[in-house]
């Protein structure tokens, strides 16, 4: 048997199978009493208003994070292309945040926006904004999106820079000769040619926001206030490891697994074929 296959079996199929089995059980935390309940956990999870709320939170959070991270990265990449001197330094500095662990990024933003001691929170308050992410769900979401997007900007920046370099200079110069202004050139030539990169990044960023941001949520809001920032992944953790309801938690992670499989399928079908890696 090929070693890759063995690794996949041990690290994917086995735990996934266990999750599937666990999702059909009702069990006390210690596993002393177990009942097989077929799909009752799934029915319960899908009928739970808290779960539906968490889906909504996740959609808002993922889209906002992906869009913010991409728009800012594209802007920075276009600027970086224009820089005449210090291009390398500028790029290096922009790529740095990618090396920061999500939980650390979360703590960083948490400190900046801490209502008591945060410097940016102080600034907001002096502008007359009653900044309170501890009680205001929208503020908490803005904080989370900022932290999550900030971390992803570097990654997007890299791809956009590569994408921009792949745009033929001749096309841009020709358009310039015909009298097209800078904005016009960007929207009619550069942006459409970047489309494969943009689409690829959209998928990657959404997957990142969906599954890779647990550390940030855990460090910044813990799902609160109320349930305003409880994403699907965070709910799996909270139900399983804090509330110790293993069946519900397993059912939720099986649903998440289905979402990942669907997203991966989309990526393979539409993205891998079209993207140019510059």
């Amino acid at each position: 048997m090929a070693p890759q296959l063995a690794i996949t079996l041990v690290f994917f199929y086995w735990p996934a199978g266990q999750a599937l089995y666990q999702s059909m059980l009702r069990q006390d935390p210690f596993g002393l009493r177990t009942r097989f309940v077929w799909f009752a956990n799934f029915r319960k999870v899908l009928a739970d208003p808290a779960y539906l709320n968490s889906i909504q939170v996740t959609v808002v959070f993922s889209l906002a994070t992906a869009i913010v991270a991409m728009v800012v990265a594209l802007l920075l990449a276009v600027m970086a292309e224009k820089a005449v001197r210090g291009k390398g330094l500028y790029r290096t500095l922009l790529i740095w945040p990618y090396a920061v662990a999500p939980a650390i990024a979360g703590m960083l933003w948490l400190f900046l926006f801490n209502p008591s001691i945060g410097s940016l929170a102080y600034l907001l308050r002096s502008l007359g904004i009653a900044w309170d992410p501890l009680l205001n769900g929208t503020h908490a979401m803005i904080l989370l999106v900022s932290a999550a997007a900030w971390k992803q900007i570097s990654y997007n920046f890299l791809f956009f820079v590569a994408g921009l370099q792949a745009v033929p200079k001749t096309l841009i110069e020709a358009a310039a000769m015909d009298g097209a202004g800078e904005t016009k050139r960007f929207w009619t030539i550069v942006f459409p040619l970047l489309a494969p990169t943009t689409f690829f990044l959209l998928v990657v960023n959404t997957v990142y926001a969906l599954f890779d941001t647990f550390g940030i949520v855990h460090a910044v809001t813990g799902g609160g206030p109320g349930k305003a920032t409880e994403t699907l992944v965070y709910k799996v953790y909270n139900d399983g490891f804090v509330n110790l309801i293993l069946g519900d938690s397993a059912a939720q992670s099986v649903i998440l697994m289905a979402i990942v499989i669907a997203l991966t399928a989309i990526q393979f079908r539409y993205v891998e074929r079209k993207v140019h890696y510059g």
Binding site: R26, Q27, D28, P29, F30, G31, L32, R33, N114, S116, I117, L134, L135, N136, G137, G222, G224, P225, G226, K227, N238, F241, V242, N243, L244, I245
Partner: protein, 436 residues
């Protein structure tokens, strides 16, 4: 975390080394969640215990935060690799009690090892909390704390309040907080950590009102929450009203509010007695008072309930291991060990003898306020409302309460709505947990 991983690695290596060198020694594993100064206490106690005899070797292992430690213990049990001793925080007590097949009551561990176990030597409020309804002690109280009131004397002075008399009732707290705010002495009057623990569980016990049926869950599993009674509603409506103009400032679900108090933003603060260390360290001119009570309550002040953590012993271990655990627990009950633990960590002493000895040594005169949590907890014999609270899923129920409080403090609902929701959702969650 890396550091702790390293420390655990070192501990594991030491374990291996010591097994090869001494064959007769029985190893006792102890998983705990103590950090900082409290971790040093764990290490010192373990080292001293190991030096005091040669039959057993206690191996403490740090396992993360309280919930992480509990989860590590549960996961290890499921994998058949449970430690001998697991430190479980107060909130996890119900979880452990529901797992009768997994644990061995401490009382049994001690008596089967041939030791006499005299319950009257221990502080009754604490031992009562960790006992079954029939009185069998299930876990060994290691670190217990109780909520008290702290206040900033400089802010009190500025606001024209009496520096030497902290507010005794909640109404006095609200008045003092308003005065602090309106006089401009500080930007906020009052803040608190742990709303669930202080303003529901201890509020109920201290005012001798019911938190839930079945003696707050101690007498049986079929529990219904009672926290939407008028006394709770009035209390929380007062908090919500004060939150509107910032007289009360919310810090977060656990101990985040400590930062606000330490930063000098608020004049009055309710927190665990275990939080004293950081306040002392900050150099603030602080004072300590008892937890305030509600003047509408007839029995107030009654007594507060213990927070903190206790040590649980897992089942299915060898007799030799249980003997080792029993030896450790009786060592831990020694007066000088308890005295050290109490004075160094700020947690309460578990035995009456250690309390008396600390009193005699003049420690409380030098450290005023350190006795307050003990007096609060032991002042009166506990009633059915004040022995503590216990649910198989208390962490989840606290989460629900916190969510409703946050919506209330954000002005999205009244105190009545918040507490009604907390009761409905909490009861549903309890019912479901019992079905498992």
């Amino acid at each position: 975390m890396k550091f702790f991983g390293f420390a655990a690695g070192v501990a594991a290596t030491m374990t291996l080394l010591s097994t090869t060198s001494a064959f007769a020694v029985t190893q006792i594993s102890w998983w705990h969640a103590m950090t900082g100064a409290n971790a040093e206490v764990v290490d010192k106690i373990s080292k001293d215990f190991n030096a005091s005899q040669s039959d057993y070797e206690l191996v403490p292992v740090f396992k993360g935060t309280y919930p992480e430690t509990l989860n590590a213990g549960i996961a290890a049990f499921r994998a058949g690799q449970a430690p001998d001793i697991l430190q479980v925080f107060d909130v996890g007590t119900g979880v452990m009690m529901a797992a009768e097949g997994a644990i061995k009551p401490v009382a049994e561990v001690l008596t089967s090892a041939g030791m006499t176990f005299d319950k009257s030597q221990y502080l009754p409020g604490i031992v009562g909390y960790y006992s079954k309804p029939d009185g069998t002690m299930l876990s060994f109280p290691y670190n217990s704390s109780s909520p008290i009131l702290y206040y900033n004397k400089d802010i009190f002075q500025k606001a024209g309040l009496d520096v030497n008399s902290p507010p005794k009732t909640w109404n006095e707290v609200w008045e003092a907080a308003k005065k602090i705010k309106t006089s401009g002495a500080a930007s906020c009057g009052y803040t608190s950590t742990w709303l669930t623990w202080i303003h529901l569980e201890n509020f109920a016990a201290w005012n001798d009102v019911s938190w839930a049926t079945q003696q707050n869950g101690l007498a049986g599993g079929d529990v219904e929450l009672k926290i939407n009674a008028p006394i709770f509603v009035n209390h929380f409506q007062a908090l919500a009203d004060l939150a509107k103009d910032g007289t009360f400032k919310y810090g977060g679900r656990t101990s985040e509010a400590k930062q606000i108090f330490l930063a000098g933003e608020c004049g009055i603060f309710t927190e665990s007695s275990g939080g004293l260390g950081d306040i002392v360290k900050s150099g603030m001119n602080y004072g300590i008072g008892q937890l305030p009570y509600d003047t509408d309550a007839k029995g107030a002040p009654q007594n507060t309930t213990p927070g903190g953590a206790s040590l649980w012993v897992f089942g299915n271990k060898s007799d030799e291991q249980y003997k080792g655990v029993a030896a450790f627990f009786s060592y831990l009950s020694k007066t000088d060990v308890q005295e050290y633990l109490h004075q160094k960590s700020g947690y309460l002493p578990v035995t009456l003898a250690a309390y008396e000895a600390t009193k005699k040594s003049g420690f409380y005169e030098k450290n005023p306020g350190r006795e307050t949590p003990i007096l609060q907890m032991t002042g009166k014999a506990p009633t059915d409302n004040s022995k503590g609270v216990r649910l198989p899923n208390l962490p989840q129920v606290r989460d629900i309460q916190n969510e409703e409080f946050e919506k209330m403090l954000a002005g999205q609902q009244t105190a009545q709505q918040a507490l009604d929701n907390a009761v409905t959702r909490g009861n549903a969650a309890i019912k479901e947990a019992l079905e498992n």
